[in-house]
């Protein structure tokens, strides 16, 4: 009996292959986008874990110096005092064709579990200078004289070597970067403060904030994945709903033949599970391909923005696949729940005729309107009183959902107004009919609205950001040449060499510090017109530059300013070794995840003597000559010199990549929305015949009807676009003023880019046209015979 019933139920799909294709495509697309994003997230997180295990030793405590350098003698002194510490020497160096992070460890003392788990470590080789690197890094390095071996466990962009080799590669003196602390220590150790008061003990996990820093990036991705998933479910919902409507007669017959409702429901549920598994598997393959295609860009973004080493090649994780399938099943359940619920509540002999949609949905419309209002109120509340990134995303979700729910109501309103104004009977019918069919299309239109609003919102946010960023970059990168000394001796030599050849040498020194409870850095700033003239400041105190130069206070970056709620002129900031310093102003500092404070150079060097100079920003009127002199006369390798154009290019490249993935997902979401619309239109076109046939009988040609159908889709699409515009701008405002501030710490002005909207509008209309073309074309070509069948008695 059940098998017979299942055969009967499934025969529907055989007779409606397009519907089946839509259902499967919707599920597959939803799964693909969601699982693709999840794969990206998982890959990145795994990479952070590797990096933290190796680079920052997430599981072990560390000993650091604010300057980032520790005398080797201090390491020996700690060991001689019994402290079980191991030295780490880390820095950047050119190997082969690329710059890598050189990570030098001392394998004899390295605490258990901190080293990468190398499959077959060649320790003799390691002592002799063999380096281990990720296969991808090896490819990037290319041919080199240095002996290197592949090791998946080493983070991308890093070469793991013995400390002796690292010292050579980095041309480092007798110093190290930090120490790792073994978990087991002998009893009765003298405290660190008495042995080395300038060193600080960093508890496990504290030094590694990659996860925290990149959390906002991943939240972003997840939000997009979820949006795309939701849009995909719209497709599923409409396909399942339609199949349910069309099979009403069959359900009635089956029940009349004695199939219990329980079994019928079970059959339908089984059917959905099977579809979910098939489409979900296809979606996983698609999602994996998608993730693999996007990962290189994501990896570059994360490396550029946060310095997080993420490999560009995707690993397959069975857990990920299971989670993806689970999500598909849950989504199918959600999308099909309504149909099953209706089946459960359908009287066995309900009329087979499709219900009067327009009438029945009036009550639903009212409920939807109330829900939209409630969500809008919630959004308002979140905007006024919410705080934190999650509240920001909740606000986003509330705005989007409220807008989506309001879409059918607003469209109905607009269509009613148009209907009132119509003068010809065909126009009147056009508007009335559009309005009447709105409930059937509303889910697809809601999906389209969401995709468009997300596009406009994210596009506006990115474009606003870019405009601000370019202006800011021009001001920030005024130094014509930047030079990186490898060590203090070279810094001194460079300073002497550069002094007679340049207009100004601005040394860059910094220490790591905890600022207002956040990981951050204190920078030294030489009093110079370069900064006075070019640095835009928020809310500076009067004579800010003079007071800064006099060492009376600090400037802080916008991130710190906003997160810590500082106020220039009245608040102070605690600096290590100095104490409270008045905050004199704040400056924008885009692309930096850390808190930052700027102190006058003299004050800095008094407080933190012997801090190495990491970079010189050089003002000169003849940059090419200076670069030539540095290379030829001083003998500085090219890798240590950056000119202004290079720096700008690098910054812009990082910026563009940051949003590449966002935009790619945006486009995909729009594509999914187009598919949703297509699904809705195709399925609708089947039941439209009975509505169109009278008009044909009354003297409208099939071609006219097809044109009107196409026109209707375009009009609805255009109206949806129109509605999406304010929603998108609201979204952009939330992103710029709330999400960005929470996630990155900077607030940007909203700028309008009508050109972008026009382009998006064009794309949206093309998408709608593409979605509506097939049903309209079918109506035009096969119209007469199909329309005639409506009137045939045997129907």
């Amino acid at each position: 009996m059940i098998r017979t019933a299942l055969t009967a139920l499934l025969s529907h799909w055989l007779r409606n292959p397009v519907q089946l294709a839509m259902l499967l495509a919707g599920l597959a697309l939803a799964t693909a986008l969601w699982s693709g994003v999840q794969a990206l997230n998982a890959e990145a997180r795994a990479a952070y874990a590797t990096a933290e295990g190796l680079l920052s030793d997430g599981g072990t405590a560390q000993i650091e110096h604010p300057s980032g350098q520790i005398d080797l003698a201090q390491f020996v002194a700690l060991r001689r005092a019994g402290w079980q510490v191991s030295p780490v020497l880390e820095g950047r160096a050119e190997i082969g064709a690329t710059r890598v992070t050189v990570l030098g460890i001392e394998p004899l003392t390295a605490p258990a579990g901190t080293g990468p788990t190398l499959a077959e470590p060649d320790l003799e080789g390691f002592f002799e200078g063999l380096g281990y690197a990720h296969p991808q890094t090896l490819r990037e390095i290319g041919p080199t004289e240095m002996p290197l071996a592949p090791a998946e466990a080493v983070p991308v962009g890093t070469v793991l070597v013995d400390i002796r080799r690292a010292q050579r590669l980095l041309d480092a003196g007798l110093y190290i970067t930090r120490m790792t602390l073994a978990q087991e220590q002998p009893q009765g150790l003298a405290p660190l403060e008495s042995l080395a008061p300038d060193l600080r003990l960093v508890p496990p996990g504290d030094g590694a904030e990659l996860g925290g820093l990149t959390a906002s990036f991943h939240l972003n991705l997840t939000a997009f994945g979820l949006l795309a998933f939701a849009v995909g479910l719209f497709i599923v919902h409409s396909a399942v709903g339609l199949a349910f409507e069309q099979r009403r007669a069959m359900f009635r017959t089956l029940r009349a033949l004695g199939l219990p409702l329980r079994h019928l429901t079970a059959c339908l549920a089984t059917e959905m599970v099977v579809f979910a598994l098939i489409a979900g598997s296809a979606g996983l393959v698609l999602g994996y391909a998608l993730a693999a295609a996007l990962l290189p860009d994501v990896a570059l973004t994360l490396r550029g923005l946060y310095g997080a080493p993420v490999p560009g090649a995707l690993q397959f994780n069975p857990l990920w696949a299971l989670a993806g399938l689970g999500m598909t099943l849950a989504g199918t359940g959600l999308a099909g729940a309504q149909a099953l619920w209706r089946l459960w509540h359908m009287p066995p002999l309900a009329p087979a005729r499709p219900r009067a949609w327009a009438m029945a949905s009036r009550r639903a419309m009212r409920r939807q309107g109330l829900a939209a209002l409630a969500l809008a109120a919630m959004a308002l509340g979140l905007a006024l009183w919410g705080s934190g990134l999650l509240a920001g995303f909740a606000l986003l979700a509330a705005v989007l959902l409220a807008a989506a729910l309001a879409v059918p109501l607003l469209l109905a309103l607009i269509l009613r107004m148009a209907e009132r104004r119509a003068t010809t009977p065909v126009a009147e019918w056009f508007w009335a009919d559009s309005r009447q069919n709105l409930p059937r299309l509303s889910l697809a239109l809601m999906a389209l609205m969401l995709a468009l609003a997300a596009n406009i919102g994210v596009g506006t946010m990115v474009a606003s950001f870019r405009a601000t960023f370019i202006d800011w970059l021009d001001l920030r990168l005024v130094a014509e040449v930047n030079v990186m000394p490898r060590n203090s001796a070279e810094a001194a030599e460079l300073q002497a060499f550069l002094a007679p050849r340049t207009d100004a040498i601005l040394p860059m020194q910094r220490i790591d510090a905890t600022l207002a409870g956040q990981p951050g850095q204190v920078y030294a700033m030489k009093d110079h017109a370069t900064f006075r003239d070019n640095w835009p400041l928020f809310a500076p105190v009067p004579d800010v530059w003079d007071r800064l130069a006099a060492g009376e206070g600090v400037l802080v970056n916008e991130q710190l300013y906003r997160r810590a709620g500082l106020r220039a002129g009245s608040d102070t900031l605690d600096l290590p070794g100095i104490g409270a310093m008045p905050v004199l102003g704040a400056y924008p500092d885009y692309g930096n995840p850390l808190a930052q404070a700027v102190l006058a150079l003299e004050r800095f060097n008094a407080a933190y003597p012997d801090t190495p100079i990491r970079q010189f920003a050089i003002r000169t009127s003849d940059a090419p000559a200076l670069i030539a002199a540095l290379q030829d006369d001083f003998g500085l390798p090219q890798g240590q010199i950056t000119d202004q154009a290079q720096a700008k290019e690098l910054s812009m490249a990082i910026f563009e990549r940051t949003f590449l993935i966002t935009r790619a997902l945006n486009v995909l979401t729009l594509a999914v929305a187009a598919v949703a619309l297509f699904a809705a239109l195709v399925t609708l076109s089947g039941m439209r015949l009975a509505q169109l046939a009278p008009l044909w009988a009354l003297g409208l040609t099939a071609r006219e009807l097809a044109a009107l159908e196409l026109g209707r889709a375009l009009v609805l699409g255009a109206l949806t676009l129109l509605l999406a515009l304010p929603v998108g701008l609201a979204l952009a405002q939330v992103l710029l003023a709330i999400i960005n501030v929470q996630a990155f710490g900077w607030r940007l002005p909203l700028q309008l880019f009508p050109g972008d909207w026009a382009r998006l509008g064009l794309w949206a209309m093309l998408a709608v046209l593409a979605a509506a073309a097939l049903p309209a074309w079918r109506l035009w070509r096969r119209g007469p015979s199909q329309l005639l069948r409506v009137f045939a008695h045997e129907r």
């Binding site: 065909v426 009278p694 044909w696 009988a697 003297g699 409208l700 005639l788 009137f791 045939a792």
Partner: protein, 222 residues
Amino acid sequence: MIALDIQELSKSFDSVEGRIPVLDSVSLQLQPGQSMALTGESGSGKSTLLHLAAGLEDPDAGQISIAGEALTGLGDTGRAALRRAHIGLIFQQFNLIPSLTVAANLAFQARLAGRHDPARIQTLAERLGLGELLARYPEQLSGGQQQRVAIGRCLAARPALVLADEPTGNLDEATGDSVLDLMLELTEADGVALLLVTHSPRLAARCAARVHLRAGRIGAVP
């Protein structure tokens, strides 16, 4: 002028058993104000004849002209225009435009044909007993009410010819009779020709003329 002139009309369909002739050289004429019943068994070709007369299908051979205008030889657009101008169609069901009110449905064809006359629609609505129902939508009407709207809509456009295909087939006998009475009365009063396809001899008997189709040919009335 002859309202409907059909000459030597032939039509056959493709089926799995080969080509099946449905109409074989059928000729008939209908004068303005005349009503004619077209009867026959299922599959005798009466619906096909009506569809051909309405320009909904193309004949294989033969001529059709309506109110003096030749229908055969016209393209889809031309046939639609002719339909708009001169023909009123009434089917067993699916006559009304579901998204429009009764009032809008009544006026629709007249406006399409450019012969909109509110006074006439008002009269027709009263005559058809639709006065109370003007603001309703088709699905809120009973079957009989729906067919009365279809008749009203048809006649409001002042067509030369009304083609009706089992217009009372979905109605009970009493309702069907009253609908048919109205239709006959109004077409006759307006001088409109009526071709009524029906399988019911009782209904056919009420028309002025009667033609019986048997296997695609006009035969003797049984």
